[in-house]
């Protein structure tokens, strides 16, 4: 019996270490690819140069901002959206059946009146109760619709009502930098035939000074959870998305800030309201649709355009968010599982979905298993010390190295943090997050998997303080 137990522990330990090693190799590859992508990325320049260069050539964009129970911040958010610098802009706010005074606040603040507007019934969505506009703000349209249990349905209504060739998905409570659209739309000008979607960077606004609906001064939050998420977002955007974009296998354009060719989204049927990871699922479906038709297309990530978002500052809020993201990844993976490693889908099926399979499906439970099995087995003398060291290397030392490497890239290429002290604090966080936060994050992801298998569909409320309000 003991022999069997020892053999089993060895096998499990080797499995845990193997999975960890593959993940680390993927991250190391991401560092190399992201570094190269940052160095050779097309020149963009200052805002004034962008206007001179692209001002007459940019296609109209409809910014679609779904809002649900956001009466405290909605007016400030909409004012912020209306101040975006872009030659031809339409702002569509979708009141997704809010139970509070979101619509009333909008009507009062912007002098809205009920209107009729013909629209292309291209995508299914819940019924629309009314459309509102104002001669004072001709670029603003407010859609009041029945609640659709999530952002996807609200986005679909916005897409149906929009008339611009490009749509920009954002969260109503996020803040887009004034020139972010101008920067993000570049691939649609430089490669108009092939580009169907572009994502920008999401950064954490907690701790920043907000004035007039804009981030006036970049700063760091005092809340440890928010601080940790700053490093986490840098790793996700500057390493992962840049690297996968470089390989033409970008699998997600964040729902908080992404630009899409409207026709391409309509072709695939819009956002899927039956998933909580609608942004990941849409991009996967765009890949599937275009690969199956052997089309030459581009889905790109650009690091410069920035959208600021509020990060949860409580364990409960963050845990719910992470479990939901995990469920979203699982839903997409199982829905499009037939693409996995199929030649027809090329590197999207092998590398793109393969990455999700490894990092989102296999990685978290295996790592959590390792936390229990390997130290215990070593303590009882069943495992040799080199197993323990290898496990510690994969979790902690490589973890620190990869997090710090993302900060190094940020400082060399983007330099958004104004003070040396900010960098010092973030470097400390990049080290410490591997001791506690990482484990917690994996626990939330495993909980998300459990919820997925139990059929949980709820989004869950996330308490927000509001950025623009």
């Amino acid at each position: 019996m003991r022999d069997f137990l020892v053999t089993a522990l060895h096998v499990v330990s080797i499995g845990v270490i193997f999975v960890g090693l593959v993940q680390v190799l993927v991250y190391l590859a991401e560092i190399i690819l992201a570094s190269r992508a940052l160095i050779v990325r097309p020149p963009l320049g200052e805002s004034s140069i962008l206007w001179r260069r692209y001002g007459d050539l940019t296609p109209p964009v409809a910014v679609i901002a779904p809002a649900y129970n956001e009466e405290k911040s909605i007016v400030g958010s909409v004012r912020s959206l209306l101040s975006i610098q872009y030659p031809s802009l339409e702002v569509i706010v979708v009141n997704d059946g809010s139970r509070d005074g979101t619509l009333a606040k909008l009507i009062e603040a912007f002098g809205l009146e009920r209107i009729e507007r013909s629209f292309e019934p291209a995508i299914k969505h819940r019924p629309i109760h009314g459309l509102y506009a104002s001669p004072r703000y001709p670029q603003l349209l407010v859609i009041d619709k029945e609640n659709g249990r999530g952002k996807a349905d609200a986005m679909n209504a916005g897409i149906s009502l929009s008339r611009a060739p490009l749509i920009c998905a954002i969260d109503a409570d996020s803040l887009i930098e004034p020139d972010a659209l101008m920067r993000a739309v570049r691939p649609f000008v430089d490669d108009p035939e092939r580009t169907i979607a572009v994502g920008g960077t999401i950064r954490i606004a907690n701790g920043c000074k907000i004035s007039g609906g804009r981030v006036a001064e970049i700063g760091l939050p005092r809340n440890v959870l928010a601080l940790t998420q700053i490093v986490e977002y840098l790793r996700a955007f500057l390493l992962a998305r840049l690297a996968w974009s470089r390989m033409e296998t970008l699998m997600i354009v964040s729902g908080a800030f992404g630009i899409f060719r409207r026709r391409a989204v309509i072709e695939v049927g819009g956002y899927d309201p039956d998933t909580v990871g609608e942004d990941l699922e849409l991009i996967t479906r765009l890949h599937r649709y275009n690969r199956e038709r052997k089309r030459d297309y581009r889905i790109e990530f650009i690091p410069e355009p920035v959208c600021w978002t509020e990060a949860p500052e409580t364990l409960e809020g963050l845990g719910k968010q992470r479990s939901r993201w995990q469920r979203g990844a699982m839903e997409t993976l199982f829905k499009h599982g037939d693409m996995l490693f199929r030649r027809r889908y090329g590197r999207v099926g092998s590398l793109g979905l393969g990455h999700i399979f490894l990092v989102d499906l296999i990685g978290p439970p295996v790592e959590v298993l390792g936390y229990f099995i390997i130290p215990l087995a070593w303590a009882f003398g069943i495992l040799a010390v080199d197993y323990l060291l290898a496990f510690l290397a994969l979790i902690f030392t490589f973890g620190v190295a990869i997090s710090v490497a993302s900060l190094v890239l940020e400082e060399i290429e983007l330099r958004r943090f104004p003070k040396a002290r900010d960098l010092l604090v973030l470097a400390g966080v990049a080290i410490l997050e591997n001791f506690g936060y990482r484990q917690l994050s994996n626990f939330w992801r495993v909980r998300g998997m459990y919820q997925y298998f139990r059929g949980v569909k709820a989004w869950g409320d996330m308490p927000r303080l509001g950025l623009a309000g």
Partner: protein, 349 residues
């Protein structure tokens, strides 16, 4: 093997931490320099604005801070883009005296493509044989964005090579698909209108190149465009035909009515959409019957644009919409009603 993983991880972590430590130290050390640069820029701006206000002469502050050249070119780029006329000329002289032109010519060969592109864009302010020669050399730069920026500057300086040569060097419409080529054609249209028109008419050329050439010319409203654009609209299909029909609407020549009428009957919905829009823009009342029929088109965009077009016709359009909204088929009745409602909102606005 497992021990090696541990050792490699320690090594990698130490490399990352060391790099970060160096960057933090560099940042701390350069903070003071950044402050001095900001002070220099503020003083330079003050002197320049004083000069512009008093129409006097000015000298930029002495070049004390490190990073002076970037500061100088950045200031030149910002200010020269803002001003026109005499003041622009004065500024060019100031920056030329400070050596900006030479810095920019040097930047064209910089390894960093962003700097090379900015230099290519800003050299247009410093017209001289040296600038032109350097920009012409840059037309073969390794980075497409830099090549295109050089071509645009040369075009603005009226020193660009012939259009056909530029199309060949930049491979516009094939390897180079940027819409910035439209801007390039616009800048060259005064000089080589006929050549660009011939490119648009040449069916052996890539469709994208032809579309960009046509778009650049369409704004000119030159009567020579009508015949070529009409031929493209008549003979081509798909996207190129729909764009040609769109440009016909922009040219303002009502003699193209037969082409628009044919477009309204096209099998391609994109062509029908553009034909309806063009009919409205040109006020082609004689096509109101056809437009009314399109209120029942299968494609929503065609119904929508047909309704808009009828609403914008001076005579008969509104009456047609009212008649259909009162008693037409379901789909056309709704399209007509919405077109009338939209008109009333616009009118109130």
């Amino acid at each position: 093997m497992l021990i090696a993983v541990w050792i490699v991880s320690i090594g990698f972590m130490l490399i990352s931490l060391s790099a970060m430590a160096v960057l933090i130290i560099v940042r701390a050390v350069t903070a003071a320099r950044s402050m001095r640069q900001a002070e220099w820029r503020a003083e330079a701006l003050e002197r320049i604005f004083k000069m512009l206000a008093e129409d006097s002469t000015v000298q930029l502050p002495a070049r004390t801070p490190r990073g002076y050249t970037r500061l100088l070119t950045g200031l030149a780029s910002d200010l020269l883009a803002l001003l026109r006329g005499l003041e622009h000329g004065q500024l060019v002289e100031i920056f030329q005296a400070a050596g900006v032109r030479e810095i920019l010519i040097g930047d064209l060969r910089h390894w960093n493509a962003r700097l090379a592109q900015a230099a290519a864009e800003n050299l247009r302010h410093f017209r001289s044989p040296e600038s032109v020669a350097a920009l012409r050399q840059t037309l073969t730069h390794r980075t497409p964005e830099v090549r295109l920026a050089a071509a645009l500057s040369l075009a603005e300086m009226k020193e660009a090579p012939p259009v056909e040569e530029l199309v060949r060097i930049l491979d516009i419409g094939s390897a180079e698909q940027s819409r910035l080529a439209v801007e390039l054609f616009r800048r060259l249209a005064h000089r080589e209108f006929e050549t660009i028109l011939a490119i648009a008419a040449d069916r052996s050329r890539p469709a994208l190149l032809r579309l960009m050439a046509l778009e650049a010319l369409a704004e000119q409203r030159d009567p020579r465009l009508v015949a070529v654009t009409s031929a493209i609209a008549r003979d081509e299909t798909g996207d190129i035909a729909s764009q040609a029909v769109r440009f016909l609407g922009a040219l303002g020549d009502r003699s193209v009515a037969p082409i628009i009428s044919a477009g309204l009957q096209s099998a391609d919905w994109r062509v029908r959409v553009q034909a309806a829009t063009a009919a409205g823009r040109l006020g082609l009342g004689e096509l109101s019957e056809q437009l009314t029929e399109l209120l029942d088109d299968d494609a929503w965009w065609v119904r929508h644009r047909a309704g808009e077009a009828l609403g914008s016709l001076r005579e008969g359009g509104i009456e047609q919409l009212r008649a259909v909204s009162a008693g037409g088929e379901d789909r056309s009745r709704r399209a007509a009603s919405l077109a009338l409602d939209t008109r009333s909102v616009v009118a109130r606005g």
